[in-house]
Symmetry: C2
Subunit: 265 residues, 2 copies
């Protein structure tokens, strides 16, 4: 009764293991991986050997732990340059960050999550540790909600179903219903806020980057603190951000950007 196999042979299995190593947010021992793995001991062992030899994972022989390897960092740079919005949005993001003097993020929707692909630190940086490659939740970030609000019906439903609705703060939206109604609001208004929904004291305003065919390509947000801004003063930045996202969309059109990643959910 062969199910429609989802795994790509040995390569798929190796990448399963790679994901597992990535899933632990710290270096991890063989036995920990084994106890969380479906693979038999010898198989897991050999896959890790292969991955280590290939430098996709690095093995700390002193502590006997595995973590992801630097080869991924090198490869990711190439991925980022060729498959993300970041290179073509660069000058626009630079200009926006310079003018508003706050932290600017460029993000894309990926696997039901927000994938940050670029970032500019303001002169007065907010104390958050983000970087290209970081992923965040959709339901409680400005860019996440902005991108989702303008996504197609089908994708929107699928992504909502994937959310965990963890209540990070008292303001976090904690149900699909609340999120759906917020998304309608955002769609009507044209932009999204994050009103301390992910982290206390951190607020942001975000707009989607829409292609000519109204496809969501990504999102841009300006993040600040409640000490420096409130929602009204952030809203005042919307026209400036709008021109940024319009320009990025235009650039992307001209660059004939690879392909919308139809957010394989």
């Amino acid at each position: 009764m062969a199910q429609p196999e989802r795994s790509d042979g040995t390569v798929g299995k190796a990448l399963d293991v790679l994901d597992q190593v990535a899933g632990f947010d710290r270096p991890v021992r063989f036995s920990e991986l084994l106890s969380h793995s479906d693979y038999p001991k010898a198989t897991l062992y050999r896959l890790l050997q292969t991955l280590t030899h290939q430098e996709l994972v690095s093995f700390d022989s002193e502590r006997q732990t595995y973590s992801l390897g630097m080869r991924l960092v090198r490869l990711a740079h190439s991925a980022w340059r060729h498959s993300s919005l970041a290179p073509m949005a660069r000058s626009q993001i630079d200009a926006l960050a310079g003018e508003v003097g706050e932290t600017v993020h460029l993000a894309q929707l990926d696997h039901g999550q927000v994938l940050y692909v670029d970032k500019r630190n303001a002169a007065s940086p907010v104390d958050m540790f983000s970087q290209a490659g970081k992923v965040g939740p959709v339901y409680c970030t400005g860019v996440g909600k902005a991108m989702l609000a303008f996504s197609g019906q089908a994708q929107q439903m699928q992504v909502i179903a994937q959310q965990s609705f963890h209540p990070f703060t008292p303001n976090t939206l904690v149900s699909a219903e609340a999120l759906r109604s917020e998304l309608e609001h955002i769609r009507a208004r044209g932009y999204a806020f994050d009103n301390e929904e992910h982290e206390a004291g951190i607020i942001c305003v975000a707009l989607p980057i829409l292609s000519q065919t109204a496809q969501v390509m990504g999102g841009v947000s300006v993040t600040s603190t409640t000490a420096r801004h409130n929602l009204a003063t952030l809203a005042a930045l919307v026209p400036r951000i709008q021109s940024t996202v319009d320009e990025i969309a235009k650039e992307a059109q001209n660059w004939r950007f690879p392909e919308q990643i139809p957010a394989t959910v």
Copy 2:
């Protein structure tokens, strides 16, 4: 006559192909890959299918081209957090960048190349497009020379043998001999310059990050333009950079990942 096997079965072959895709600095067609590949058509085809399905490469069906996929960007973030110096050096790099007001790079030596793992843009940024994950040449960058100068004899020779000595500018060192003598000089002096050796108008000063056992862990550089600085004014920053690299080395010594919380399964 089995050669000492270098490849890790199917996974190794798939990663060969991944490297090949990364090697083209643009989206690439199947036939281009095929003509540069040792693998037969059907094999290459299936490996690409697998990689695409796994999102390590993305396929632009409109233009029929392959490029690296965003899954790598997600994975790399985890690699960067756990296996690079960047997270533990973060606050020191921030402080340095703030004080000197110029672009600061944090790099590590990897495969005979300079791997940039972090970067801070100055208030007055130099016009260069770098990012975590970018690799650069050792022989004509400040960090590259600083790290190499303090590496062990064996590694130094090995890395020198790997250099291509492309003359980017009139100042580029173009021979192993010239590089070796420069490295001696750097070792004696304790820091390295990049005197427009990679790009005209761009100069930098760099120091290695040395562990307690005098192992090279990475390097830190301050980059500027000839319009704003000369080698003498950059040299004046050395004591400040020295304290940064000392602090980073100390941090790295102490760094331990948060202890495991025994998972309730």
